[in-house]
């Protein structure tokens, strides 16, 4: 019975997130014609694959108790960099790995500055954000279209999914969504099954304890930042599949979307708790808000305002849960 209670507290955020998603989907279906269909659901993946990938990456950093606000710039930079290189005839099989390696380097530098020199994560990643955004504009101020055949193939290639004869049961997913699936599975594996993943949680719980336990804090902490930046540049690749262009002012303020995805999905900003599966659901909730805003024909800024409101709500809720969990712990300790 006691165990049940523990589980409930741990999973309450995730459960609420899934319930919220279902409620919003039902709300949309009840309110609008043509909303309830397989393609609406699958389009959440098609339109938000990049956000999910970036969100999964940032979840690692958030679990260690840090923060990375450079990801949106990294995404934009990847897009501009690739578009610029492709325009100059560099083949795509060179450009994509190079872009990903740049992401890894950015993460490694940021992580090292944060860990070795004990700088605050927000200052370092804020500087990183401006650096990458500045570099975007240095490369090109205008939007560069991508005409590379491989990119076109990835952008347009899709798998039709048919569950029945009716139109509502037909949908499609684009190839790049598969990248998200791979990232999700890999992230789940790393966090749950590897020593690295467990150490990431341990650092988030208490860095000092993790160090005293003999865990390699430097490797894990820098590793988390590398994963975050790598995922951001991968998200950048997916985003350029999605838009077939590179533009330096793309995705302004997207780090808030990624962070809200993680928080809505049950990741604690104080570190130590979080799940990448929750982050994916969190990103889908944002997708559904976007869809509803579009259906309502509202100003697109409402999406941002709603997401910010939702983020506040979830953070406040987490606080309440944390306080109650503390109280519960105190009670059991007193009983013992």
């Amino acid at each position: 019975m006691k165990d049940m209670k523990k589980i409930r507290i741990k999973n309450i955020s995730l459960t609420m997130t899934v319930v919220l998603f279902a409620v919003m989907f039902i709300f949309g279906s009840a309110r609008y014609d043509h909303f309830l269909s397989l393609s609406t659901f699958l389009n959440l993946f098609n339109d938000n694959a990049y956000l999910m990938i970036a969100g999964i990456g940032i979840t690692f950093v958030l679990i260690t108790g840090g923060i990375d606000i450079s990801i949106s710039s990294t995404i934009a930079f990847t897009g501009v960099f690739m578009a610029y290189c492709l325009e100059r005839g560099v083949p795509s099989f060179v450009v994509i790995p190079t872009a990903l390696i740049i992401g890894i380097i950015v993460g490694a530098v940021q992580g090292s500055l944060i860990h070795y020199f004990k700088l605050q994560p927000f200052i370092v990643t804020l500087a990183g954000q401006f650096l990458m955004r500045g570099l975007c504009v240095v490369i090109s101020e205008a939007s560069i279209p991508i005409t590379d055949p491989f990119f076109k193939f990835m952008a347009l290639g899709r798998i039709p999914i048919k569950l029945g004869e009716s139109k509502a049961l037909n949908g499609k997913i684009y190839y790049y969504v598969l990248i998200f699936v791979v990232v999700l599975v890999a992230a789940l594996f790393i966090l749950k099954k590897t020593a690295f993943g467990r150490a990431v949680y341990a650092i988030g719980g208490s860095e000092q304890s993790a160090e005293l336990m003999g865990l390699n804090v430097a490797r894990c902490k820098i590793g988390a930042y590398i994963i975050s930046s790598f995922c951001a540049s991968l998200a950048g690749v997916v985003f350029s599949f999605y838009t077939l262009a590179g533009y330096g002012l793309q995705n302004m303020g997207m780090e808030l979307d990624a962070i809200s995805s993680a928080v809505i999905g049950g990741t604690l900003l104080t570190g130590g708790v979080g799940s990448v599966f929750g982050t994916a659901v969190g990103a889908m909730i944002q997708g559904i808000i976007q869809t509803i805003v579009t259906y309502e024909n509202l100003n697109t800024w409402w999406t941002k305002v709603t997401i910010a409101g939702l983020l506040c709500f979830f953070i406040v809720m987490q606080r309440i849960i944390a306080v109650r969990a503390e109280a519960l712990k105190g009670k059991t300790a007193a009983a013992a």
Binding site: I67, I69, L113, Y116, F117, K118, L119, Q120, F122, I123, V124, L126, A127, G128, Q129, F130, L131, R133, G134, L135, V137, V138, E141, G253, E255, L256, I259, L269, N299, W301, W302, K304, V305, I307, A308, G309, L311, C312, I315, V316, R319
Partner: protein, 348 residues
């Protein structure tokens, strides 16, 4: 004499002033003295230096507010959005789109815009002090949503206004000097009085060094945090008024965009520890002048504006590194290690 000099160089504002003077000197040499020239037209002073002071006005105000936030170990990256909100509100009221019953009163527009800034600051402070969200996330909420709110106030349009009284905030002159300078003097003077003539500054430093210890020492930490974020929000709204008066309208997409980095950079150059603790408002204000003059210099050199942001980002990292105790340790080790090697070489 020597004693006096060392006392002077020990002051936190010493190096920023030296840097500022160096940049001015550099520019003067670069332009062959033209940089320093101040002409008087219609009884107003004109010149590059005056421009730096005028255009740096909003940054100086922001830096003053930001110093206190950073001194507590927090941050406020929502200042740019608060600027957009205050500009949007002021222009909408003057335009008659918002609260038409006020009849486009400029005074009411300014008061309400500053009130909006105070509300934004209270909101940030509430999230940080009561809900205990990390300052970066708490203020990022307003950074993103704030621009949205500003858009909703102006219903997504760029508002242009026609009001000489409002233009005066940025373009006016008193005794030949630009009006923004007086706003800076007034606000910074007020803040300095408040911080240094009361125990506020001491408590602030104490909170920045160790929040928990300050709490046990009997300081009402939460109340202080709330006040500090509110001041930052109010200052940001004033900066927003200056900016929107400068462009004679409200542009929610671009008002105060990316200015938070400039403000943090100004504070960092001023020598305030970004980890919290030691701080100096005056140094930050000079830091803001340095940032503004760097921008002016780089533009005068013909470097594309895009590079400025890269330069500033790198500058912040370098300054942070120089403040980091760990970095000093590594550097010391490196230097002493080299000496060691040299000695060995001599022995060989």
């Amino acid at each position: 004499m020597k004693n006096r000099l060392s006392k002077l160089s020990g002051n936190q504002a010493f190096w920023p002033v030296i840097i500022f003077l160096t940049i001015i000197l550099f520019n003067t040499i670069l332009t062959g003295g033209e940089f320093l020239s101040i002409s008087i037209v219609d009884g107003h002073f004109y010149g590059r230096i005056i421009d730096i002071f005028r255009n740096g006005g909003k940054l100086m105000i922001l830096a003053a507010g930001m110093t206190m936030v950073l001194a507590t170990g927090g941050t406020d990256i929502s200042v740019g959005s608060v600027m957009a909100i205050s500009g949007a509100i002021a222009c909408s009221i003057i335009n008659g789109n918002l609260f038409p019953q006020l009849g486009g009163s400029v005074a009411m527009a300014i008061i309400l815009a500053v009130c909006a800034g105070i509300v934004c600051g209270l909101w940030n402070g509430f999230l940080v002090s009561q809900i205990k969200i990390q300052p970066i996330v708490a203020t990022m909420i307003l950074l993103v949503a704030g621009r949205g709110i500003a858009q909703l106030i102006t219903s997504g349009k760029i508002i242009t206004i026609n009001s000489d009284a409002y233009y005066f905030i940025n373009g006016g002159y008193i005794l030949g000097l630009p009006f923004p300078l007086y706003i800076v003097l007034f606000l910074v003077g007020l803040l300095l009085l408040f911080v240094h003539r009361t125990a506020f500054g001491l408590f602030l430093e104490s909170i920045g060094c160790n929040q928990l210890a300050s709490k046990f020492a009997g300081i009402k930490v939460n109340r202080f945090l709330l006040a500090i974020y509110t001041i930052s929000g109010a200052f940001a709204s004033v900066a927003g008024l200056i900016e929107s008066a400068g462009i004679k309208g409200a542009d929610c997409n671009n008002a105060g965009l990316n200015i938070e980095l400039d403000a943090i950079l100004a504070v960092a150059i001023g020598g305030t520890n970004l980890m919290g603790g030691r701080f100096s408002i005056l140094s930050s204000v000079i830091g803001a002048l340095i940032v503004q003059s760097i921008t002016t210099t780089v533009l005068a050199l013909g470097v594309p504006a895009a590079y400025i942001r890269v330069l500033k980002a790198l500058l912040i990292i370098v300054i942070c590194l120089s403040q980091s105790g760990k970095f000093k340790q590594y550097a010391a080790k490196l230097v002493s290690g080299k000496k060691h090697v040299r000695k060995e070489a001599v022995a060989l």
